[in-house]
């Protein structure tokens, strides 16, 4: 099952643990979100720190900058002293405190001729008869001993290493086990490779060649990773490189990486890398790239510096002491963001601002750096909370894009990918356990979730939303959390009961589909009235506030009214505007998951009548397909197609709903007059 999951996932910071989760969680179990009191004690303090009248986004940055400078620090995003972090295992029989993994590997083949894993742990339940550990089944274990070198009794079958004792293990008992073995990590198949080996660029990411705690949902621990390779290869690993020493015969070099903050992801890559570095960010950023990309080093480092700066401005200080950027093989087909490290497929490293590929590079790097907060600073505790990792990383990436490039296209595209590629019967709530096993995992956990988090931001406003982030990180930073914890923080910050939002968008499926029509008429003093009628289509009825943008005739000035508070089967609401109406756009910024059709034939722009302005608007929308491109391998949509959405496509103008706004739709419009 783990291999199956791996084959359908892309770039997750938490894939290995997620696969483990899948065994631990009862099928069908579903968290119920508990609404909180609207009187969070921290609200006055948080809000008092927001200067009134300033732009919320920038205010928040100013707030965070000020917070960082303050002593004592209010929230936990500042680097913690690792000694202050309590080791966590979240519910298992034992708690791994520390792992020391030493291996010698042949980069061209991946063969680990020596693997020694030392686990320091503690029993966390009383009277445990056996200690179950996960270990790669393709490995041959040659010895299992305790800290004194005494043999453990053990069995090892199907990837399960079970330690047995003469007496039951008692609560609080510390123990150490040293497992020695050899083997080659299984690299799986499909487009997401856990590892890949060749002469020039090899990597081991999701292959779990070290010990796992199969009794716990998640177990976080500090670690040291030592990777010995033939001289000439450079190893880039997770955590922080603390040493590199050459063997006495000069044939091998051992690279040592310290993981001073708790993690459960130990990954590395090997190549004849060149090192690049910058100290322009708040933490040192280092890159490990191949020679052919050295000409692009400034672009790579500047982009990383800017992204780190952006995230620090909205989420708080970078949570780790360094960031390493690692080039890995293209067959990874994406990126990976374990602790203090991002690994990305080779091709993106040649991108610069003049290349078409650059937007993908920006999105990928910002997603993976986003994982430093979402998935590393705060790990996910339950698999039904995977959106806290992937969804929030994607939200962060789209937010970065929106801020830097002044474009919501990533949010819009992500929303389209969800709405247009998942059949209703295959939809799964993004806050449920089913999301992991869904063939639409990425579309749900990444794309839909990113839009839903943004919808939450828009509903609460930046002030409350980012205050909620602050509370969440303060409460769960350097640990693990669930979606419930996240919403608890948001409720404290906002004072709002978010249970309905959670139920609708995280437990529930689908999105609002609306048939809209308008009437307009002049009112007193030159103002006009716009009456909007929205009928919900389908069995899923949503409560959603939709901002209405009215474009006025003449100078085409836009006036935002509303929101239209959609609820039930039909909603009718009137708004006053300053003049005659040319066009009515529900959710003009397209921030929401919703699709709208014209309720009156031919009145595509919802002006209240089918007229020439609809023809002009049709001409503007003409020749736009729902996708720029179908094809490639795997992302979204099921069936292996790559859904590359066209944000210029709008349902309302695709009258025959064939995914293309073309001459057939023009013909239908002409006949509708």
């Amino acid at each position: 099952m783990m291999r199956t999951l791996l084959s359908i996932l892309l770039g997750s910071a938490l894939l290995a643990s997620a696969a483990t989760f899948a065994f631990a969680v009862p099928p069908g179990h579903k968290d119920t979100f508990r609404p909180l009191s609207a009187t969070g004690a921290e609200i006055p303090e948080l809000r008092a720190r927001i200067p009134g009248g300033a732009d919320p986004m920038h205010t928040n940055r100013a707030l965070l900058r000020a917070s960082r400078a303050a002593e004592p620090r209010h929230f936990a995003t500042a680097l913690k002293d690792p000694d202050e972090i309590t080791p966590t295992n979240y519910g298992g029989y034992f708690n791994i405190l520390h792992q020391h993994v030493a291996l010698s590997i042949s980069p061209p083949t991946g063969e680990m001729d020596s693997l020694v894993v030392r686990v320091d742990a503690e029993i966390t339940k009383d009277e445990i008869a056996k200690i179950p550990m996960a270990f790669p089944q393709e490995f041959e274990i040659t010895s299992v001993v305790d800290e004194n070198g005494e043999d453990w009794d053990y069995t090892f079958t199907s990837g399960s290493l079970v330690l047995e004792g003469e007496e039951p293990f008692l609560l609080g008992t510390p123990f150490t086990v040293v497992v020695t073995g050899s083997g080659t990590p299984y690299c799986g198949s499909g487009y997401l490779h856990a590892c890949s080996f060749n002469n020039s660029l090899s990597y081991v990411t999701h292959a779990q060649y070290y010990a796992g705690n199969s009794s716990a949902d998640i177990d976080l621990y500090t670690a040291v990773l030592e990777v010995t390779v033939p001289a000439g290869f450079i190893v880039a690993g997770t955590g922080k490189m603390v040493d590199a020493h050459t063997s006495e015969d000069g044939e091998f070099v051992t690279w040592v990486f310290s993981h001073d903050y708790e993690t459960h992801l130990l990954s590395f890559s090997m190549a004849d890398y060149q090192e690049i570095a910058t100290d322009e960010a708040s933490i040192p950023i280092r890159g490990w790239i191949r020679d052919k990309h050295m000409d692009n080093k400034d672009t790579i480092l500047n982009l990383a510096t800017n992204i780190v700066g952006f995230y620090e401005s909205v989420f708080g200080p970078f949570p780790f002491e360094n960031l390493d950027i690692v080039e890995i093989h293209n067959n990874f087909s994406g990126g990976y963001g374990p602790m203090a490290t991002i690994m990305m497929m080779s091709d993106v490293f040649s991108s610069n601002e003049d290349s078409d590929y650059y937007s993908f590079f920006v999105q990928l790097m910002s997603h993976e750096i986003g994982h430093q907060y979402w998935g590393n600073l705060v790990n996910i505790l339950k698999p039904n909370s995977v959106t806290l990792s992937e969804g929030m990383a994607e939200f962060s990436s789209a937010l970065h894009w929106q801020e830097v490039f002044d474009s919501s296209s990533n949010f819009i595209g992500n929303g389209m990918t969800y709405m247009y590629t998942i059949p209703g019967e295959e939809d799964v709530g993004i806050g449920t356990y089913g999301v992991y096993s869904s063939p639409h995992y990425q579309t749900l956990a990444y794309d839909k979730a990113s839009v839903v988090f943004n919808m939450l931001r828009l509903q609460l406003g930046d002030e409350a939303f980012f205050a909620g982030i602050e509370i969440f990180i303060a409460s769960h930073g350097y640990g693990a959390a669930t979606l419930f914890d996240f919403f608890e923080s948001m409720e404290i910050a906002s004072g709002e009961d978010l249970s309905a939002f959670f139920e609708q968008w995280f437990n529930g499926i689908r999105y609002p589909r609306l048939e809209m029509s308008t009437e307009t008429w002049p009112d007193t003093d030159g103002s006009w009235m716009v009456q909007v009628t929205a009928e919900q289509i389908g069995e899923h009825l949503f409560d959603i506030d939709i901002p209405i943008t009215v474009t006025l005739q003449g100078d085409h000035r836009r006036q935002i009214v509303g929101p239209l508070k959609v609820s039930g089967e039909e909603t009718v609401q009137s708004f006053r505007v300053d003049g005659p109406v040319l066009r009515v756009d529900p959710d003009q910024e397209r921030n929401l998951l919703q699709r709208t059709w014209a309720g009156a034939a031919g009145d595509l722009n919802l002006s209240g009548e089918a007229d020439g302005s609809d023809l002009i608007d049709m001409a503007i929308r003409h020749d736009r397909n729902i996708v720029f491109q179908w094809g490639g391998g795997g992302r979204g949509g099921g069936g292996g197609g790559y859904f590359y959405p066209n944000a210029g496509y709008l349902t309302r103008y695709d009258l025959n709903s064939d995914g293309k706004i073309d001459s057939s739709d023009v013909e239908l419009l002409m006949n509708a007059y």
């Binding site: 009437e519 003449g554 100078d555 005659p580 609809d614 002009i616 001409a619 003409h622 020749d623």
Partner: protein, 236 residues
């Protein structure tokens, strides 16, 4: 009688909401048909009480008792009172014709980089009856355009034309058309009753855009006043 130049047309749009239309009838004293967005409403359709306030002797007055003692006779004729052409804008202009009816055109003058045009044309249906209407497509060049022209109830027509580009790899390069003097549409009316009306561009529904897809502002909208009278009444 002289007609004021009304570059922005009339400002009555009550037709768009039925329940307000009903409210408007007693307030404005129009007949139900006449208030159907016939902003250029004429005194000819007013009821007696309105007529009593009419002071312009040139306007024939319809009373409950019918025509007055100098009741004119002969066929009805429509006389257009052309206004000055705009420097840049749209104009409704009569076309010289041998026919007894009134033929007018929507003319565009001095329009630059044009992507699309939309407008509503209104008249008093109790004075003029629309016999036919024809849309032209002056925006078709190397790029096709589409045009619509449809009559609506109560003396109104909607017109629109726009250029339909195709994309190249998802990118659009919109190109507009310069029109020094072009016809967008023609209408044929027949007179129904004596009176005065204005064939006018309605405020609502106007949308003129250039190839940047932005509105072209500061356009002049020139309406056409029309007098309908019996031929022996001296209508010219």
């Amino acid at each position: 009688m002289t007609f004021p130049h009304r570059p922005y047309g009339f400002r009555n749009h009550l037709i768009s909401l039925p329940f307000l239309t009903l409210l408007a009838i007693p307030l404005l004293g129009w007949s139900a048909a006449g208030c159907a967005d016939s902003g250029p409403g004429s005194s000819a359709t007013s009821d007696a009480s309105d007529a009593s306030e009419e002071t312009d002797a040139d306007v024939p007055v319809l009373t409950d008792a019918g025509w007055d003692s100098t009741e004119p006779s002969g066929p009805l004729e429509a006389l257009a009172n052309p206004q000055e052409a705009p420097l840049s804008g749209l104009q409704i202009l009569a076309i010289d014709s041998e026919e007894t009816g009134l033929e007018v055109k929507i003319r565009g003058v001095g329009l630059k980089d044009l992507f699309g045009v939309a407008c509503h044309i209104v008249w008093d249906p109790e004075i003029l009856s629309l016999e036919s209407l024809t849309a032209a497509s002056p925006l078709t060049t190397d790029i096709p355009s589409q045009s619509i022209l449809h009559e609506r109830d109560g003396g109104r027509a909607v017109y629109g034309t726009a250029r339909f580009h195709t994309s190249s790899w998802g990118q659009f390069d919109y190109k507009g058309v310069d029109l020094d003097d072009a016809v967008f549409a023609t209408f044929k009316f027949s007179p129904v009753a004596a009176g005065e009306t204005i064939i006018a561009f309605r405020d609502l529904g106007r949308d003129v855009r250039d190839a940047s897809l932005k509105p072209i502002e500061d356009l002049e909208w020139v309406d056409l006043p029309v007098t309908v009278a019996h031929s022996d009444e001296g209508a010219k």
